[in-house]
Symmetry: C2
Subunit: 267 residues, 2 copies
């Protein structure tokens, strides 16, 4: 891919994220609060409305700017393309967080290549006004803390590591038992961050995210952002996971190997 | 208290929160990331440094503006006063979140009256730039969403309610069993928000926060903010809890009663 193509993809992604930011914030922290006291508002499903509005806004931009690319979105399914590139969209990752008013959900935008591997990813938290990008030569975050390079943290012993997962109820009983082996070995385990946890790996703040039952649109952007920051994202067997499922995101090879061993009962 | 005294307290609280915002952000997302790769940085404890710097900055302002008031702070203990008012300070509530880079910790500032009951509270999230205030005639939030009144959400059946707690490991085994009875009855349980969960109750986004093992400086500000927004904060027996311990924060009397019954095995 030449520099002009890269620039066009980066600019398109920024336009998508700006559009999704407006669409998701239009419904954030409204229903369920004061507005939900009216009968009409009580029938209103903010997640579905905001999800669809954000994805439709992004698809309209892609139809205009990138008609040659395929699109895979959570809400509106797949559209074929001719370029070999696919835009993978999750307009609201973390709908439970969105519904609860937390600032931990995000808009996920990724581009995958002909082999299905993510080559670019963007994680945006509209309420905070914070964006994390990785791939196509970029690894940076912009937000309240200014513009900073993204770089995963250096190796440290597992008993000094910080682990995140969205729910303590991780997957099946077997998956939960595997997760608990890592949880019991790390310094600190925290829950509830949705896609923001992957951004914290890329930003050098935490060491591990372990989740199960994910979809392609949940992981494509985090994979690209974390890899661009020097981290590793695989399934629980250590292989590529662009399709989702069981995901192990790690700040470096050392903590990845230690967590992988425990997930597989070899710790 | 007359209008001039009220205004003076509100202005002092804002000055404290601004000072704490600067002190906490100075160390946020630094150690553990890129900086921690040097030996010197590895010995650096960001929570302690930021905690103390923020509390010292607030105490310096109080010594100048409100020498007649007592002060109780997490880091530097108690200072007596003559006015009957006490400033209760927690410079960083949610140190685990702070250490992990999440935007869910906060600065807690409260004023209690001669009877120990909170009459004013402020919850500030410095990274987002969001502030929640309640008491002395005020119930409002200012942040990325603009300035809005705080108002707890209307009653709804418990199976439609959203419950938050900081950790899934809530207190003792007995406390955990009581918590789980409520968890099993609500629509959605989420973890990991630190003091931000209390702000979400006041903002009308969620219905319940249940925690155990809290300190006075953890609860004073949330009590004032939630009560000003129309909600209720008690211990697990339904009594006042300005000293912390077991805390049940609820958006309204209906959901409070339902959760209280389950906590006590009467659901």
């Amino acid at each position: 891919m030449n520099a002009r193509d890269r620039q066009e993809i980066l600019e398109t992604a920024a336009e998508l994220a700006d559009a999704a930011r407006a669409a998701t914030l239009a419904h954030f922290r409204t229903a369920g609060g004061i507005a939900a006291e009216s009968k009409e508002a009580a029938r209103f499903d903010p997640v579905t409305v905001a999800d669809r509005a954000a994805e439709d806004a992004m698809r309209a931009i892609l139809a205009r700017r990138r008609p040659q690319d395929a699109v895979l979105g959570e809400e509106r399914g797949a559209v074929a393309g001719t370029s070999g590139l696919t835009w993978v969209l999750d307009p609201i990752d973390g709908t439970r967080g969105y519904l609860s008013g937390t600032p931990t959900w995000g808009v996920l935008i990724a581009v995958t290549g002909p082999d299905g591997a993510p080559i670019y990813g963007l994680i945006d938290q509209p309420f905070i006004g914070e964006r994390f990008e990785g791939g196509l030569g970029r690894a940076e975050t912009r937000g309240p803390g200014g513009t900073r390079p993204l770089r995963c943290r250096a190796p440290r012993p597992l008993d000094q590591a910080i682990l995140f997962s969205t729910f303590p109820e991780v997957g099946t009983d077997e998956e939960r038992a595997a997760f608990d082996r890592v949880r019991d070995a790390v310094r600190l385990t925290r829950y509830g961050m949705d896609c923001y946890a992957y951004a914290l790996v890329a930003a050098g703040q935490i060491d591990l995210v372990i989740e199960a039952g994910l979809q392609a649109y949940d992981v494509a952007a985090p994979i690209a952002v974390i890899e661009a920051a020097g981290g590793i994202v695989t399934d629980w067997q250590g292989g590529p996971c662009p399709q989702g499922g069981q995901v192990l995101a790690a700040a470096n090879a050392s903590v990845h190997a230690a967590a992988l061993a425990l997930l597989n009962g070899r710790g």
